[in-house]
């Protein structure tokens, strides 16, 4: 009950918390309508996660003032920004490919914001040097953007956005321009900087890993709507749409729970460890699926389905098998096991999942 006591008053405040972001972003653009509710407290990092074309970037541009709101509200620290032009908003943006001004050095890129906000040239440069130093880029201050590595450019872009001391930091796919190898290192660095940022940060990404590593809270957007919201752990454990389930690598089914059994809307029943009743989701990871060439004997008949291999993909030393049949699902196994089973597209298999490895939650 203490949990409830903590959250209830927060929800009771109608709108406009004194600090942080409180927005409902409605943008009508031709056949597409974005309608997203977004709130965040200072110090919080929120990730807008969703497939391409879901409207994440539009939401970000609306926050920055680059796209006008059709409807809704935008309050930052209690002040409405709805009518404020972008150059007057206390908002910093790290763009997808950073958009560092190619004709300016790293230092002058970072100094650009302070200069526009009224600092003298010397002041702006001093501030910029400080930011670059903080990013570990002091020795690259004089470099032109084309001579910076992807990771360095991203840090310069971050420094440039932070140098205006924004109350809202927006990051548009901050990792998209990086190759897989530098991503790991850059992600860790970005996480450190975001953790140290005292105001609201909103991050747009289609990469669940980025979202989960960088953000305190995820807002999943599909077709212009919020479909799920919560902590990364929560969303990873309890996805509510196929998109999220795929993102986090879970098999997800929806059905009606009755005790330890969830009868799926279409298909068989799944026995679960949780006891529920009413509409429910069942999720289990592909690694929880065991495959057999022949029907396993001795084991109870629970959660055993007759399937057929539809496709195979390798991930390092593991193979993911996509199965069709009684229950469509994804199963992970080692390459050795896959070879022993003689898996090939069209091969019949038996798939089994232990009830203890499933996770059921109300829909």
């Amino acid at each position: 009950m203490t949990d409830l006591d903590d959250t209830a008053p927060a929800r009771a405040i109608p709108r406009a918390p004194a600090e942080g972001l409180d927005a409902r972003l409605v943008v009508d653009r031709g056949g597409f309508r974005l309608d997203v509710e977004l709130t965040a407290a200072p110090g919080e990092v929120v990730a807008l996660l969703g497939p391409n074309g879901a409207g994440k970037t539009t939401a970000l541009r609306a926050l920055a003032g680059l796209v006008p709101l059709t409807d809704g509200r935008l309050l930052l620290d209690g002040v409405s920004l709805d009518r404020t032009p972008p150059e007057s908003r206390p908002v910093g943006v790290v763009f997808q490919d950073y958009l560092l001004f190619p004709h300016l050095t790293a230092l002058d890129n970072v100094a650009f914001g302070p200069r526009c906000r009224g600092a003298t040239k010397a002041e702006a440069r001093a501030q910029a040097a400080e930011w670059l130093d903080r990013m570990g880029l002091a020795e690259h201050a004089g470099a032109k953007p084309r001579n910076l590595s992807g990771g360095q450019a991203q840090r310069v872009a971050l420094a440039r956005a932070l140098a205006t001391r924004p109350r809202l930091l927006l990051l548009d796919e901050p990792m998209a321009a990086l190759d897989a190898r530098t991503r790991l290192e850059v992600r860790a660095g970005l996480r450190r900087h975001l953790a140290g940022f005292e105001a609201v940060a909103v991050l747009v990404t289609h990469d669940p890993l980025d979202a989960m590593v960088l953000a305190d809270r995820l807002v999943v957007v599909e077709h212009g709507r919020v479909v799920q919201e919560g902590t990364p752990a929560d969303i990873a454990r309890r996805p509510r749409t196929d998109y999220i389930a795929q993102l986090v690598g879970l098999n997800l089914y929806r059905g009606r729970a009755d005790g330890h059994t969830v009868r799926l809307d279409a298909g068989p029943a799944i026995t679960t460890s949780e006891e529920l009743s009413g509409p429910a989701f069942v999720a289990f990871p592909p690694s929880a699926v065991a495959l057999f060439r022949d029907r396993p004997t001795g084991a109870g008949a629970r959660n055993l389905w007759r399937c057929e291999v539809a496709g195979l993909e390798t991930y390092g030393d593991r193979v993911r098998a996509g199965l069709t049949g009684e229950l469509p699902l994804a199963a992970d196994l080692t390459t050795v096991a896959a070879a022993e089973l003689g898996l090939h597209p069209g091969a019949p298999v038996w798939a089994m999942v232990k009830a203890t490895q499933t996770h059921a939650y109300p829909a």
Partner: protein
């Protein structure tokens, strides 16, 4: 530049040259090469002929005349002023055409390019009707400020600007359209007004295009004849630019005309080559 030798397996020693040769013949198909050479010859032949038939012996004498240098100086001053004037109003005009939406923009763009197709003499007459002593605007300039433009050096600059500015506007507009407008957005989110964003971000980004347009405009202004002689008349030292001097010299002394043309040619080549090294390669 790609390194040629890396892709040839086997013959490492003879690789580079062979590859380069093969690449050379492969890169230029004959149906393109022949017309290209014909075009080049067509452009260069008249210029070469000018050099061949130039009265080299009399040249020092021809060039000793003060009028030649007066006309040349006037040409350079006027063409440069016209280019600066074109930059001052042409770049903002190009920005307006490339970055804003307003009704009739297509029509405005067409009108801007009109001086390109208008015979320059007609342009000169139109300028007289607008800025002449009795012109639509000119009569007010005359009666309010006592300013008359025909027969003045300012008139020459105006005539050259009228003919040369479309080149600049078209060139800059093209560059602006090709430039990523998101840089302006990025500047905006950093607190820059739209004008600051233009001045400090867009303008440096499109600088090569602006320079190219300015060079085009300058070259066009330097060679301007029809509109200038019609609007500004012909008076040595005041409105007689090199093309006018060449034209009038042609009436009685073709050798002098060729000498003048050579001077103009030499100066243009020197300036364009100099600018090319400094500006055009920056893009």
């Amino acid at each position: 530049m790609t390194k040629p030798a890396t892709t040839t397996p086997g013959g490492v020693g003879g690789g580079p040259r062979r590859t380069r040769l093969r690449r050379g013949t492969r890169a230029v198909p004959v149906p393109l090469l022949l017309p290209a050479l014909a075009g080049l010859a067509f452009l260069l032949l008249p210029l070469v002929s000018l050099l061949v038939r130039a009265p080299w012996r009399d040249l020092p004498e021809q060039l000793a005349s003060a009028e030649v240098w007066q006309a040349l100086r006037l040409s350079l001053v006027c063409a440069t002023s016209a280019t600066l004037l074109s930059l001052l109003v042409g770049v903002p005009l190009a920005w307006l055409l490339a970055r804003t939406e307003f009704p009739g923009r297509g029509l405005v763009r067409a009108l801007v390019t009109l001086p390109l197709v208008l015979p320059p003499v007609v342009g000169g007459v139109a300028l007289l009707l607008a800025f002449g002593r009795n012109g639509v605007v000119g009569q007010w300039l005359d009666s309010w400020f006592g300013i008359t433009l025909p027969f003045t050096t300012t008139g020459v600059v105006l005539a050259e600007t009228f003919v040369a500015m479309p080149f600049l506007v078209i060139s800059v507009e093209g560059t602006l359209r090709a430039a990523d407008p998101r840089y302006e957005e990025a500047a905006t989110t950093l607190g820059a007004s739209r004008f600051t964003a233009f001045r400090r971000v867009t303008l440096p980004l499109i600088a090569p295009g602006v320079a190219a347009g300015a060079v085009l405009a300058w070259a066009r202004a330097l060679g301007e004849f029809g509109a200038t002689i019609t609007f500004a008349g012909n008076f040595p030292g005041r409105t007689q630019t090199m093309p006018l001097a060449v034209y009038l010299a042609l009436q009685y002394d073709p050798a002098a005309a060729i000498a003048l043309s050579l001077v103009l040619l030499a100066v243009s080549i020197a300036v364009l080559a100099g600018l090319r090294d400094r500006w055009m390669t920056a893009s």
